[in-house]
Symmetry: C2
Subunit: 286 residues, 2 copies
């Protein structure tokens, strides 16, 4: 099976590294199509690809194409790819919002080729190839989208390949995907950014806060140190779901605020216990 990876950053590079571990047993050939020549050399040296090309027409032999560009380039790149696809080819992406992309891609795909939206739920602050690792997806959720137009066979092929990469595949409707990631991935970013900015705009105590910030603040705001442009992409492309989650969060915070204002120890305790219980059910007791 021939695989093309368009874009060799953290995610594209990690897909390559992982697939190459299995290349022999799965009879895979991995071709990388990055933007820059030096990335081809680097990816070969790291063992993330078999071959590299700067020419998008190099997807013409591929059975599966992973588009791993920044989210705002996914549809433009798909348009470039389409004329070169062979019959039966499957295209997937790794963008962190799905409704818009899947809708547009389904309209664009020619008969006999297939698009399945994807989103591996793994990441780091660093987004370049140097940060790529074969284990990035191990045990992580990898969402694939399904609509009434999705080919079951294409979905199944991708499910198998991605499971082979160590990820837990979850098949979701694009809208439910967007709501899900808004709740657990985009909201942490929104809160981290808003919290850091609250401190930096504090009229009193700003210097003391910056000086005393310790592990709690560090961990709660970690995602605010990521690539700002990735944040812009997220909040622009997943606007609707993010806004609905901000609304829900505000109501939850107001609930806590109310019981603090009342000095209601019992209710504060109940909210704390509920949160601890739910969180421990996800990550185990810390």
């Amino acid at each position: 099976m021939n695989i093309a990876i368009v874009g060799l950053g953290l995610i594209g590079g990690s897909i390559g590294l992982r697939l190459k571990l299995k290349a022999e047993s799965l009879k895979l050939k991995v071709i990388g199509i990055p933007r820059r020549d030096e990335t081809i050399e680097q990816a070969k040296e790291r063992g993330a690809i078999d071959e590299g090309s700067l020419n998008i027409s190099s997807v013409s032999d591929s059975d599966i194409v992973f588009i791993c560009t920044p989210i705002n380039l996914i549809i433009p790149k798909l348009k470039e790819i389409i004329p070169h696809l062979k019959k039966g080819a499957i295209v997937t992406d790794v963008g962190s919002s799905k409704s818009e992309i899947v809708k547009e891609a389904q309209i664009l795909m020619p008969k006999g080729t297939y698009f399945v939206g994807g989103h591996p739920m793994a990441g780091k602050e660093k987004v370049k190839l140097e940060a790529a690792e074969a284990d990035l997806f191990q045990g992580a959720a990898w969402i694939l989208t399904q609509t009434s137009k999705t080919s079951k066979k294409a979905l199944e092929t991708l499910q198998n390949l991605i499971s082979d990469m160590g990820a837990d595949v979850l098949v979701l409707d694009p809208k439910l995907h967007d709501l899900t990631v808004a709740g657990i991935s985009h909201m942490p970013l929104a809160l981290a950014v808003a919290l850091v900015n609250t401190v930096s705009e504090a009229k009193e105590g700003k210097d003391e806060m910056l000086k005393c910030a310790s592990s709690g603040f560090r961990d709660t705001t970690r995602v605010a140190s990521g690539d700002p442009e990735l944040g812009v992409d997220i909040f622009v492309t997943n606007k609707k779901a993010v806004l609905s989650q901000i609304k829900a969060f505000k109501s939850s915070l107001s609930n806590l605020e109310k019981v603090i204002k009342e000095g209601n120890s019992e209710q504060i305790s109940a909210l704390m216990k509920k949160a601890k219980e739910v969180r421990d059910s996800i990550y185990g007791q810390s």
Copy 2:
């Protein structure tokens, strides 16, 4: 110099472990006064204390007394301690809010004895002696409070001892302390609790969110897995400063919400960049 530690949990135990490293060079004797007999044995085995007692009158030889109980027991414990203090004795505490405690303690302390409020900015989710470690305060901020009634000599004695423990001492007015910790320690907790509860109350997508939650959600909500009762103490005793910080945070979040709603990439980018810059200035580039 004789040191008493009243309460041998994470903080009291870690103070003991650290002081005992310096016990010879500083000529210290460390006595531990926990609630339970078995804690004395355990603390001795770990090398956190020289001697232990369950009797509060054992503070009578001490030059410095650290009160390391849960915050709601600090003043009750101080009342028990006072009748046994020798002349010139200094009492400090490690409670995470200071205005109320310092105000009450200053009224209670008899002439010739001194109270200086304290708050080491170090912690973990686990709060028992087993989690104690000599390095807990290394490089961490340790706030001591100063008011018009604070003895300069007592403050200086504590500053020296705590610097010897590896912490960076910061002297603040109790109210400024409370505002500072509300902003960088109590707010992360409030947001973590509110975010987990938002997910667990989601009308749509709850199961998918719980299944897909990955490292961003994990780190942002880490502090929600701490001891719920510690959270109650914080929100009850530092109510005023926490409420003012929740208000400021809501305004910061609404600001982000507004530019997301407008789809204003430039303004979203500006808020993201500002947050990243401030955070990286604290913790270095991640």
